[in-house]
């Protein structure tokens, strides 16, 4: 038996429509209102939101709880799940819970090391890596078995997401690394910030050669750099983010009070460039603390709103548009 799968993101990807997802960082605090406020800013503009899992190894409300709050607020969630704090037992039980709560998308990743977060003294788990966790999710969903080989009574039906950074060394390995994740079970991938479209396109070329683009939807990560301070942080303190020289020059070349606008303009241009690039299924907006600015960015990039089902607000958001997993698997 399979829980029937709803899902805007799934349908949009199947239909080949350019999708929009966004990051929504759960709050530090038992604060349902914080999730609802951010959700209200994004509602109507995105196909799904990622609820991050203690992002940057900093303690936040659990992704699964924030997913339920986002659902209630009429947004489709993507539940992020890292291997940093969970062994294979906990990963499987959280995935089952996501299935039971009708969370339509899960995204498995290795996660940041505790050293980089607010509890650097914590014990890192990393029982599985991101590839193995993706594999585990796929086995659970498609074969209905736990890692122990035991059957599960009801199979979940979420779409399985993954992440990749096309800009981190060894660059030549990055396409093949995604190929592994796709072989393991990734249906879609969201990338690290794309500031360098040329390098990104080369990576897409590798994916095309590997036959990955037919099997996995590539959603490109984007976000505005809104101050020179943020630029410095991205360049020196966030591992794995590559900001090319011409972007740095552009942001430094405008008066201090115009940096924010220039950053937004750059982001708009990047979205437009990506939209015009074959093989890009959509964009994933990461605008921490600037969620209210996402509609403006999308609008200026020529992407129209009305993406979330209005019927979802207040009701059971996932009761509509049901499709079985079988059909999807053959389509992809």
């Amino acid at each position: 038996m399979t829980v029937e799968a709803p899902g805007r993101l799934r349908h949009a990807l199947q239909a080949g429509r350019f999708v929009v997802t966004a990051e929504l960082g759960p709050p530090r605090g038992a604060d349902a209102g914080a999730v609802e406020r951010k959700a209200a800013q994004l509602r109507g503009w995105v196909d799904a939101v990622n609820l991050t899992d203690n992002q940057g190894a900093n303690v936040r409300m659990a992704s699964i709880g924030a997913c339920v709050l986002a659902q209630r607020a009429g947004l489709e969630p993507v539940m992020q799940l890292t291997c940093r704090d969970r062994n294979r037992i906990a990963l499987q039980s959280d995935l089952l819970a996501a299935g039971a709560l009708e969370i339509p998308n899960v995204l498995l990743l290795t996660g940041d090391h505790p050293h980089l977060g607010d509890h650097p003294e914590a014990k890192p788990v990393f029982d599985l890596d991101g590839v193995q966790a993706t594999w585990l999710a796929r086995t659970l969903r498609d074969d209905g078995v736990l890692m122990s080989g035991q059957d599960i009574a009801v199979r979940p039906s979420w779409l399985i997401g993954s992440v990749e950074n096309p800009f981190a060394p060894p660059i030549s390995l990055r396409g093949r690394r995604l190929a592994k994740k796709v072989a393991a079970g990734a249906d879609f991938v969201q990338t690290q910030y794309v500031f360098d479209v040329r390098v990104f396109r080369r990576w897409l070329g590798d994916l095309a050669d590997l036959g990955i683009l037919e099997r996995c939807a590539v959603i490109a990560g984007v976000g505005p750099i809104r101050s020179l301070q943020m630029l410095e942080i991205l360049r020196s303190r966030v591992p794995g983010v590559a900001v090319p020289e011409d972007v740095v020059r552009r942001l430094r070349g405008v008066p201090a009070d115009r940096v924010a606008e220039e950053g937004v303009r750059l982001c708009v241009e990047t979205v437009q460039e990506l939209r015009a690039t074959a093989g890009v299924a959509g964009v994933h907006l990461m605008a921490f603390g600037f969620e209210h600015g996402i509609p403006e960015i999308l609008e200026r990039a020529g992407i129209s709103p009305h993406r979330s089902a209005p019927a979802a607000v207040g009701g059971t958001p996932l009761a509509t548009s049901v499709v079985s997993l079988e059909g999807d698997r053959h389509a992809r």
């Binding site: 290795t110 029982d127 991101g130 594999w135 981190a168 030549s172 690290q192 794995g240």
Partner: protein
């Protein structure tokens, strides 16, 4: 270290004698620790990683580098160290074994921690450690292979 019937018998012999097994495991630990920084996970992946030990990665990734590798190849967790997967890529490419990094590595069995990977290898127990990701067989991809108990 080739797997032959001779080594399989040797491994069985060693495993059957606790004192000898301890001595043998210590010898393995000492040589591999100093050469590769081995952590004695008991399921050696190094033949497929250009002899860069994935268990020395702070996240113990067995399937390739995380997304945080610095532009100079530094580890995101300990920036004074090189990412072991950058080393694995260089070494396996240099040795003409680039495709080895495409293998899907199965999760580690933590019960083997501290035990001899040589004894395990010689007895053929490592055969299921990895599988080929690039040539999926018939049926829905490779996900069937994850379950430790075959169906």
């Amino acid at each position: 270290m080739a797997r032959t019937r001779f080594y399989a018998r040797l491994a069985r012999f060693v495993e059957g004698r606790p004192g000898l097994y301890r001595w043998f495991t210590t010898a393995e630990r000492m040589s591999k620790e100093s050469l590769f920084g081995c952590r004695m996970c008991g399921q050696c992946a190094m033949p497929a990683t250009g002899y860069a030990c994935p268990m020395t990665c702070p996240k113990q990734l067995r399937n390739g580098p995380c997304g945080g590798v610095g532009s100079d190849g530094a580890c995101e967790v300990y920036p004074t160290l090189r990412c072991i997967w950058v080393m694995a890529d260089e070494r396996s490419t240099g040795a003409g074994h680039r495709r080895d990094l495409d293998l899907l590595q199965r999760p580690v069995d933590h019960r083997e921690q501290g035990r001899s990977s040589w004894v395990n290898y010689w007895q053929g127990r490592d055969e299921a450690l990895w599988t080929d990701a690039t040539t999926p067989g018939p049926g829905p991809l490779l996900h069937r292979d994850l379950g430790l108990v075959p169906r």
